[in-house]
Amino acid sequence: MFRTTLKAFAVIGGLLAALPSPAGAAGDEIHLPPVRFSFDGVFGTYDRASAQRGFQVYKEVCAACHAMRLISYRNLRELGLTEQQVAAIASQVQIQDGPNDEGQMFERPGRPSDRFRSPFPNDAAARAANNNSLPPDLSVITKARAGGAAYIYALMTGYSEPPAGVTVAEGMNYNQYFPGHQIAMAPPLNPDQVQFADGTPATVENMARDVATFLQWAAEPELEQRRGMGVKIILFLTVLAGLAYAVKRKIWADAH
């Protein structure tokens, strides 16, 4: 009886193993450099300090071109910022609101409940300001790219001179990890571009890791809750499986 169970699960395992991974489906063979994150593995969690630094990198560098329209300022509380800090960050931007009682649109300082203000009013404006390339919204970017946060890190650190024989088109830049290797975005991170309050040296690698951590959090804010719940549920189910098997054995004892 148990042999057949094992067989059944071998079939499930076989099915799962046979599935092409989404990354494989993309076809383009690009090997990302090894990088470790605090949220790797089954029990990983977000390094709050790193994610806060990553937010600073986003705010001071990426936000010039990239929107994050699904994230609200209030969400930053989850990264350990206080209510006052969040309110202060939100109030630094002007948000268009309205219409008011006179039917006029007006500008007001941002509130924690506002979504991150987008740098451009629409995609056409974003293209017009970026050599006809559209800087993608970064709200779910780590879920939207094969490799996730590791791909973001690779992209941030992957700029170089094109190898001999490769010509890069006008206005494009060579990046060894970008599909096709020609990316419109100029190298976004330069050493000491931002000044971290906690004294972390602002190397390109550090900033890349921090911003990848921040973007991973933005894409999957539920990750810690999800994994915590998963551990409890699987432990519970494992015990329940043992009990269910014991009950089954006892009931079947007289039937063999």
């Binding site: 009886m1 057949t4 169970t5 059944a8 699960f9 079939v11 499930i12 076989g14 099915l15 799962l16 046979a18 599935l19 092409p20 991974s21 989404p22 990354a23 494989g24 489906a25 993309a26 076809g27 383009d28 089954v42 699904l70 969400n75 993608p136 709200s139 779910v140 879920k143 939207a144 790219r145 094969a146 599909p179 894409a219 804010p221 539920e222 999800r226 994994r227 719940m229 998963g230 551990v231 549920i233 699987i234 189910l237 494992t238 329940l240 499986a241 269910a244 098997y245 009950v247 089954k248 009931i251 079947w252 007289d254 039937a255 063999h256």
Partner: protein
């Protein structure tokens, strides 16, 4: 049966009062309590019950998701992300629903595989089998339309590619495509009707599942030996024996499900579906969800569009006539040495097609897909009909109880049919 109150055995007076007027308690007792079930099921016979549970999970989570989802091209993607971020446990509902679709197909593929291996499609269970194929087709339609709803890049381009297949049919093709689209391209009317149908079809599935179970309870279940029970010594009451066995299988199924939902919720998805749909940007490789990859591989293995479409649909429609293609009187492959090998090779061909469907349409995958497609159909159309005549099956056991009971003898007639204490 005479008109008048049903003669109820129920002890509880309230239950008896209801049962006399509407004997649902008697029916449940007959169909799920004392229902005589072959005593030799292995764990492959869990998967029907698992599929039933999975369907219920999909409907339950789907109803809650629909409360928060907005079926409009400009709002759908954001409303899904709102479910993920702002709805209480919305991420859980959505990941259970999305991975539940994958679990449903895993469970149902194993269920179908079991039916093919043990010959469950053969007389007298042909209609039971055909209703199962209908359920599978409805599942495919439901899953396809569900994948369109988040309105990501793969939603949009998958919908475009798959609906365009119908244009291959002569005369009516373009008309069908316009009807599916509700216009002249995949757009808001498409999303609206897919949402409506995605909500409707699961209830149609429930209806056909009911018929599937009705048919099952007329013929009774097949079993790993593929021989009919000859008396009470060959069967056990469904409860508590198979309720207990199904419960164990159910918990194992939940563990696999939980690993996916909590630790790899996007493993079976495609990253491009987290990019909002854009009709002006075509993804580098358009691939359907993993459970459609075998048919996608068959489609792409054929150089002719109409031929590919016909072969793709034919790959499942051929299941309908399987009971008449396989004329061997022996059901279980355990006693069919040649058919067993041929079927295991068919399983390999199916998995190879699944793998190739996820790869770009280039060599060597096209050639491999063609070989696997050829074998897929050869198994049904050539090998099985021939083996029905040529194969010499192994001797069948005299009865289930003689084959599976310790000591080989039938139990005293009363022992197996012992009345069960149950609520």
């Amino acid at each position: 049966m005479a008109i008048g109150l049903h003669n109820s055995d129920m002890k509880n007076p309230v239950v008896r009062w209801i049962d006399q007027r509407m004997p649902i308690f008697t029916m449940m007792q007959k169909e799920y309590g004392s229902f005589p079930t072959p005593r030799n099921f292995n764990y492959f016979w869990n998967f029907g019950a698992l599929a039933m549970v999975n369907l219920m999970i999909m409907i339950a989570t789907g109803i809650f998701l629909a409360m928060h989802y907005t079926p409009h091209t400009t709002l759908a993607f954001d409303s899904v992300e709102r479910i993920m971020r702002d709805v209480n446990f919305g991420w859980l509902m959505r990941y259970v629903h999305a991975n539940g679709a994958s679990m449903f197909f895993i469970v149902v593929y194993i269920h179908i595989w079991r039916g093919m291996y043990y010959g469950s499609y053969k007389a007298p269970r042909e209609l039971l089998w055909m209703l199962g194929v209908v359920i599978f087709l409805l599942m495919m339609a439901t899953a396809f339309m569900g994948y369109v709803l988040p309105w990501g890049q793969m939603s949009f381009w998958g919908a475009t590619v798959i609906t365009n297949l119908f244009s291959a049919f002569p005369v009516v093709g373009q008309w069908i495509v316009s009807l599916l689209w509700g216009g002249f391209s995949v757009d808001n009317p498409t999303l609206n009707r897919f949402f409506s149908l995605h909500y409707l079809l699961p209830f149609v599935i429930v209806g056909v599942v009911f018929l599937h179970i009705v048919a099952l309870h007329i013929t009774g279940s097949n079993n790993p030996l593929g021989i009919e029970p000859k008396g009470p010594q060959d069967t056990l009451p469904f409860h508590p024996y198979y309720t207990a066995k199904d419960s164990f299988g159910l918990v194992i199924y939940f563990i696999v499900f939980a690993v996916l939902v909590f630790f790899a919720p996007n493993y079976l998805g495609h990253p491009d579906n987290y990019i909002p749909a854009n009709p002006l940007v075509t993804p580098a490789h358009i691939v359907p969800e993993w459970y459609f990859l075998p048919y996608y591989a068959i489609l792409r293995a054929v150089p002719d569009k109409l031929g590919g479409v016909l072969l793709m649909f034919g790959s499942i429609l051929v299941w309908f006539v399987l009971p008449w293609l396989d004329r061997s009187p022996v059901r279980s492959m355990r006693f069919r040495p040649l058919a067993r090998i041929a079927f295991l090779l068919w399983t390999v061909a199916f998995l190879v097609l699944l793998y190739c469907g996820g790869k770009p349409a280039e060599e060597p995958f096209v050639t491999i897909s063609r070989i696997a497609t050829a074998y897929y159909f050869a198994y049904f159309l050539v090998i099985l009909p021939l083996l029905g005549r040529l194969e010499r099956p192994l001797p069948l056991p005299e009865s289930i109880s003689r084959a599976v009971l310790r000591g080989g003898g039938p139990l005293p007639a009363g022992a197996a049919a012992k009345p069960m204490e149950k609520a």
